[in-house]
Each structure stands twice: as structure tokens, then as C-alpha cells.
Amino acid sequence: MKWKLPYLSTRGNMAKPGFWAGLLIILLVLPLFIKSPYLIHIINMTFIYIILTVSFRTIMTSGQLPLAHAGFMGIGAYVSAIAAKWFGLTPWLSIPLGALVAMGVGILIGYPFARLRAVYYAMISLFFGMLILSAVKAFAKWTGGAAGLTAIPPLLGFSKVPYYYFFLGLTAVSLLVLYRLEISRPGVTWKAIAQSHLVAASVGINEARYRIIASAIGCLFAGIAGATYAHYNTVVGTTSFSFMATIMLLIYVVVGGVGSFIGPIVGVFLLMTVPELLRELREYVPYISAAIVLIVVFLMPKGVTGLVKSFLSWLAELWKSRRTSDAP
């Protein structure tokens, strides 16, 4: 079986300050126009999953498929929730604690798991994700087991709008950090390792070290997403951190486009937000997700962003040929 490596561009091409400033302003004033708390809730969840999915893709750029990623979200969520609920820590301290514990576990498993590549790494991380889940169930006294942990102290009260600004800021900072990483030395190194670990090693790249760095950073942001999710939702259950949850992350990335930094964001929006907005259809909602997934996979080999990119370059070509034919 061939493990196809996604084509990853190394060029930073998101430097359009005007566009991003405009988007930020629109997002800042958005809650003034949305009155439904449910809609705000969906947007908040979208923010959390954007952090999670983009950090998932960060590990993917180093050539590995981290199938325990939702589990790391779970580590962050449970550590932070337990610290806040049973030890009375304020959520402002327990969230960084949860994130750091997730990062620590990511580094710890990074060392032994750096021995394995491609499909073997995917498998072992899959089992590590299952191990996290069964550990959560085994310590039911602390974690609430399969029934879930309830009455977690909230971070900013029970109104949705303060959370909106909190998550907006958090997502903006996380995306900025991850994007800067991707276009700087570590990001380029990860892509080199992904394309060929042998060539990377022959030019003096310490493969294990850089893969551990990728794992640490990805797990840190997964932990942040999980911990904030726990204190936002005030209830956590094991289903949000299961293997299927990780597979959904992979789908968001593939549908959005693996090769692009905005790909995961587009994927989360298409597959999480749109089905949530169509909630009136109730049990038929998965059909919509399935339809989006199948359409994208069959018709857009590089995901939605890939299609948009090639459409834009086609337009540019068209424009250029117009101008050259007009010239004489």
C-alpha cells in the first residue's frame, strides 16, 4: 500500500492584512446582530473545533496521522475539569494546566512513537487514543466515567456572548501562532520530513526531534481546545474524544484540503456548522454531511480550497490570455 503524502506548499500566501483586518472587524461586531444564543453557541463550538482541527493538521504536516488527537483534547478537558471541580482551582489556571498536561503527554509519547512512521504511527496513535478513553472510564470516580463529568465550573458565567469574544481572541492567537510556525523553519522542516524522511535525515534534520516538536505543539493546542471546551460546556462526555471524533477531524481536514492552512477551517465550517444550522431536519442531518463529504471527495481531489485555488488560477490565466490577445 502506498502512503501518499499530501502536497504541501511552503510559501506563505496569506499575507493580506486588509482582508484579515476586515474579517476581524466583521467578527467583532457580529454578536450585535445575532440575537439567538443558540447561533452564538454554534459559532463558539466552531471556534473550538477550528483550533482543534488546525492543530491536527499541524501534526499531519510532519507526515504522520495522529489518530489520538481527540483523545488529547480529552486529556486537556478532563485534567482541567478535575482540577477545577475537585481541587477548587480557578478555571483561569486549570485551563493552562490541562493544556500543559496534554502537551507533556504528547512529548512523552512522542519519544517512543518517533520510532514508527506512516501507517504504523497511525495505528499506534489510534490505540493510544483508545487507551485514554478507557483510562477515563476506569477512573470513573474522578471523571464520571461513561456518563460524563457534570457541573464543571464555568469560565465566564453562563451567557454565551462573553465566550464568543474569548474564543474569537483565542482562535485568532492560536491560528497566528500555528501559521507563523508553518511558514517558518519548523514548518518547512516538518514538510521535508513528510516528503522523505531519508532525504531529510541526509541533510542533517533530526527527524525524531522535529516530530516530537510537532506532536508537542499539536497536543498543546488540542489541550487548550479541550480545556476551554470543558469550562464552556460545563459537561464533558467520552463521545467527544472517541476514535470517531478523531476521524471526523481527519474528514474536516481532507474535505477542506490538506495542502492548505485554511483547509481545515473551511472543512469545519462546511461539515460542522452547516449541519448544525440545518438542525430542523433532525435525523436526516447526517445525510447532508455524507453528501458534502462524497461530493468533495469525488469531485475535488484537493479539497474545497484546492478547487478554489485552481479556479482562481484558471481565472488569472483567462485574464492574462485576454490581455495578450487584446494587445495587438
Binding site: M1, K2, W3, K4, P6, P112, F113, R115, L116, V119, Y120, M123, I124, L126, F127, F128, M130, L131, S134, A135, K137, A138, A140, G145, F243, M244, I247, M248, L250, I251, V254, V255, V258, E283, Y284, P286, Y287, S289, A290, V293, L294, V297, F298, P301
Partner: protein, 276 residues
Amino acid sequence: MLILSAMYILVALGFALLFSIAGILHVSHGAIYTVSGYICWQLSQAAGINQWLALVLTVLIVGSFGLFLERFCFRPFTGDFDRSLVVGIGIILILQTTIVVTVGQESRSMSPFVAGILNAGPVSVSLERLVTFAIGAALLGVLVWFINNTKPGLQMRAMSQDLQGAIMQGININRVSAIAVVIACASAAVAGCLMGAYINLNPFMGDVVLGKALILVILGGMGSMTGIFYAGLLLGALDATLPVFFSGSVAEVIAMGAIIVVLLFRPTGFLGRAIA
């Protein structure tokens, strides 16, 4: 315990066939298993067909569905791991939702294929368990014989060893992988029907079996059929005995830890070989 082993192996064997021959991580295998249980239930309970006939019909329906899957869902994505995985998820979503919409979330019980209890001296065995196990074991035997002794079976093994080489020998790889997919779907269908009668049906029962199949294939070694047998027997035995000593989730933690350690030192499984 032996029943669980036989059924796990039956599902895992189909899964492994697809993995090693067609190169697909067939995540929708569990959903196919579930759906066939439901088709059998519908045919026998709602349409009133004899249950054994319903079993045969289910296998035919699901087998032809496998043909459709191979042609339209797997062949376009040969060698593209991520996208074939995503197609599989799409199939799962569709199948599971169809079950939820048409039958409902709550679990259903199917009447057993054979009623009654066999008394042999001091031990008494439910006849249903015996028949389930016998069918499972017989099917496994047939499958192994097929893979080792017939021409399509040998072609499958050639394909799993070296795809390029198989093509150069004039093997029609599309036809062979179609056969493999049909066999995999049919064996999952049999397992689904039998397990549906043995334990209850519910729309998400495939997820558990898929997890077990994955473990079997990985532990046994990808591409090794004998490895899957040993791993299946081991897993069935562990599943039956570990809960005696530990509570369910602690047993799970130990099992997962053991698997991770095995994979760390022997990433190709017990009897597997490296796959590039």
C-alpha cells in the same frame, strides 16, 4: 468465547482481505455488518420469510452491494489512503442514518436461528451457540481453502505481496479486488446476521466489531491470514477471561497498553511483514 472469536475472525478476515489486497482501510466494514443484521431482521420478521432463507438473501444483497462499492467507491481511489478513508466515512454515515431513519435508534431483538438446548451429560450448551460457532468455523475453513487453493485466491495473495508484479503476470487486478470485496462483504453479512440473532441489533453495533477487527488485523500482522487466526483466538479468550479478574474498563486499559507495547517493538504484528 469461541463464538466471539469465530465472529471476530470472520469480520476481521474480510477486513484484512480488503486491507492487504485492495489497499483500503475499509472503515465502513462495521456498518456493512450492522446493515446486514438489519436486512436479515427486516426480511425474516417484517416480510415473514424463513430465517435461513433470509440469511442467504441478505448475503446475496450485501454481496452485490459490495460489487457496487468496489466499482464506484474504491476503484477511483486506489492508492489514495486519505480519500478512500473519507469515502468509507461517507458510506458509514449514509448506512447508519438509513437505519436510524427507517428502524429507529432503539435496539431490536431477532429470534434465534435455532432454539433449544443440547444436553450432553453434565454440560448443556445452547444449540444456537453451537450452530453459530459451527457456521463461523465452517466459513472460515472455506475462506482459508479459497485463499490458499483456488486461482482467484492465489491471485489475491500475489496482489497482496506485490501489486506491480501481479499486474505484470497478467492478473486482472480489478476483477480480483472485486471478488475480494464481495467475499469480505458477504462474510461480514453472515457474521452480522448470526450476531444479530445472538445478541441484539442496534444501529451502532458495528463500531465495536470494527474496533476488534482493526485490533486483530494489526496484532496478527497486516497481510498475514494465519496471524489473524491466532490474534482472533487470543482476543476472544482475553475478552472472556479478563473481565473475571478486573472491572471492564481496567481490563480495557491493560489490553490497550499491551497492544501499544507490542506495536512499539513489533510494529508489523505477530506474523506480519513490513508494508511500505
